[in-house]
């Protein structure tokens, strides 16, 4: 390539990346700009990016309306916990599919693929009635609003998008050299101990990738949790129903009319609050996303 061509290309690349990057960054800038302005600034035509009336009260009000700290605690308990157990159960299952031959394997793996294809909306109602009367015969428990409704499927590899995660793990384990295990077997190690002591330490990048996806999916989920919880226990649900929560907790009345334009300040503040934990996690782990993809196994 000639130098002139190269220069032209890097200018072109810069323009393309900046303008597309702007599409991604724009809503975040807007979010920050709205969250710290007074609602009067929304109808002031001279205000675009920099608020005239800087204030922290919107953030404070949103924290109250969302009952943020309690909700955050609940979400972390539900979200991080489920993600962790889901990663473990999917890894064990993926290893079973990657390394062992057994009868019916193809059919069972077909079910994994089905799990990827079936929209959660199809099975959510039967699942609701399952958890509403969980048990056998006359003995049954009402598990609605109980965290077990999320934990039980996660423990057994049936959580949110678990089919995809089993697939990722299977691909990754299938790509590891068999010699790793053979050495352990010769030393008399059982397959399960081999998995825990030899395979898992070699698969940490895959674990981290799946864990990240898992955390993000559970954090952002509102569909599955709105099926099993009648109150707004997670940040995503709270944000989804922020309109109502605002009216009840801020204006003491469910029927008050707020100007939709002015309401944006609280909504954007709510968005900012709910993505901050994920953003912090992303900033710490973005190196893994941006540099280490080839080792993580998702490309199989």
């Amino acid at each position: 390539m000639t130098r002139k061509k190269e220069l032209l290309w890097s200018v072109f690349r810069f323009v393309i990346l900046t303008s597309l990057g702007f599409v991604i960054i724009y809503p975040l800038i807007y979010m920050v700009s709205c969250a710290f302005r007074d609602k009067a600034d929304m109808t002031d035509p001279t205000v675009m990016w920099i608020p005239h009336r800087l204030t922290l009260s919107v953030i404070r009000e949103t924290i109250t309306a969302m009952d943020f700290w309690n909700t955050l605690k609940n979400t972390v308990l539900l979200n991080i916990g489920c993600s962790l157990v889901q990663v473990c159960s999917c890894a064990v299952t993926g290893y079973g599919f990657a390394r062992f031959e057994f009868r019916g394997k193809n059919i069972l793996f077909g079910i994994v693929v089905m799990m990827i294809l079936v929209p959660p909306q199809i099975i959510s109602m039967p699942l609701y009635s399952l958890f509403r009367h969980f048990g056998f015969g006359d003995f049954s428990l009402n598990l609605i609003n109980n965290m077990l409704t999320m934990y039980l499927p996660a423990i057994t590899g049936n959580g949110i998008k678990s089919g995809l995660m089993i697939l990722i793990f299977r691909q990754f384990f299938a790509g590891l050299p068999r010699e790793l295990e053979d050495a352990a077997y010769i030393d008399g190690c059982s397959p399960f101990r081999t998995f825990v002591q030899v395979i898992v330490p070699n698969a940490l990048p895959a674990f981290l990738t799946v864990f990240l996806f898992s955390v993000v999916l559970y954090w952002n989920d509102y569909y599955v949790s709105s099926t099993f919880f009648t109150n707004n226990q997670t940040v995503a649900l709270m944000l989804k129903n922020l309109d109502t929560e605002l009216k009840i907790n801020l204006f003491d009345s469910a029927s008050v009319d707020i100007d939709p334009r002015e309401q944006i300040v609280w909504k954007e503040a709510g968005c900012l609050l709910s993505i901050t934990p994920m953003l912090i996690m992303y900033i710490f782990l973005q190196k893994h996303f941006t540099e280490g993809i080839e080792r993580s196994g998702i490309t199989g």
């Binding site: 724009y26 079910i111 294809l117 057994t156 709510g270 941006t290």
Partner: protein
């Protein structure tokens, strides 16, 4: 009792052992609910304190969904058409971006970090709010933002390039694409990630020999990059289709959920199953087409 189990048999048992937990969960939390929902779609369903009472109505619910309900078919058509034109655009855009992000330049890490950002945001309610706000608020900032990618700009560009007399259909299509840049960029995070991984798997030796043979960027893309990423186009295609189809924000899904809140469980199940049938058919069709034309590295 010392019954000798063969090595093979023992491995098989271990295999079952590894998947047993998943198998139990799948029967209880996936297969049974799935069959139940299929059963419901042929029944009139009433829920009494969480227990379901069913009455067989045959294809009644399906006929309700297709013939009686005014909105269902419209939503279905809209969602299908949207998926049909958005999916190729997302794939092209994400491959293009991945190729750029795979090059060496200053600020590459920052650029990657920005382009993967949607991965952590786009699946949640936050995305719904920010995409809605940009459409609806009509405030100055948003207005300026949308003019940046406005139809006029594209129209002027075409005029400038001397391309006149494009039919109105074509013009409409181009403007729709321009209006949807936001949605496309925001739904491409995972796809870029996957393509980038595929690009990083191209062996250095292949790159060197191509350059030695005098391949320029264009030839390199079509002769080397493209064949290497075709298997990932399939993976990305399936991912994109499923992602758009199962998104709780799409019209069909909203419709199914609203039917459910009206306690029309049978009808809702029928609608969900028709929809699922279409997903299954289109994913298998796409798989068949791409499998035929894809290149696999003989490892």
């Amino acid at each position: 009792m010392s019954k000798k189990i063969t090595y093979r048999k023992r491995r098989e048992l271990w295999g079952y052992g590894f998947i047993s937990l998943w198998l139990v969960g799948t029967v209880v939390f996936f297969l049974i609910p799935l069959l139940q929902s299929l059963w419901w779609s042929f029944n009139d369903v009433e829920i009494d304190t969480g227990k379901s009472i069913t009455k067989w109505v045959g294809l009644g619910n399906y006929s309700y969904a297709v013939n009686t309900d005014e909105k269902y078919l419209v939503y279905l058509k809209d969602t299908l058409i949207e998926t049909l034109w958005k999916t190729p655009l997302i794939l092209i855009f994400s491959l293009f971006t991945a190729v750029i992000l795979n090059q060496k330049f200053k600020g590459r890490t920052l650029a990657r970090a920005v382009f993967f950002l949607p991965v952590i945001i786009a699946t949640g309610p936050v995305y719904e709010i920010i995409s809605g706000d940009i459409d609806r608020t009509g405030n100055i900032g948003a207005g300026q933002f949308s003019t940046l990618f406005s139809t006029d700009l594209i129209g002027e560009l075409l005029q400038f390039l001397g391309i006149y007399g494009i039919s109105d259909d074509m013009n409409g299509m181009i403007s729709q694409i321009a209006d949807n840049i936001f949605g496309i960029v925001w739904s491409s995070g995972i796809q870029i990630l996957l393509f980038l991984g595929a690009l990083q798997n191209i062996p250095e030796s292949v790159r060197e020999s191509a350059i030695l043979e005098g391949a320029d960027g264009w030839v390199y893309f079509w002769k080397i990059t493209f064949p290497y990423v075709t298997p990932f186009i399939l993976a990305n295609l399936i991912f994109t289709v499923i992602d758009t189809f199962t998104n709780p924000m799409n019209a069909v899904m909203k419709k199914i959920i609203s039917m459910r809140s009206d306690f029309k469980f049978g009808e809702a199940s029928a609608m969900a199953w028709i929809y699922f049938g279409i997903i299954l058919a289109s994913v298998s069709l796409a798989t068949a087409i791409i499998k035929k034309s894809s290149y696999y590295d003989n490892k």
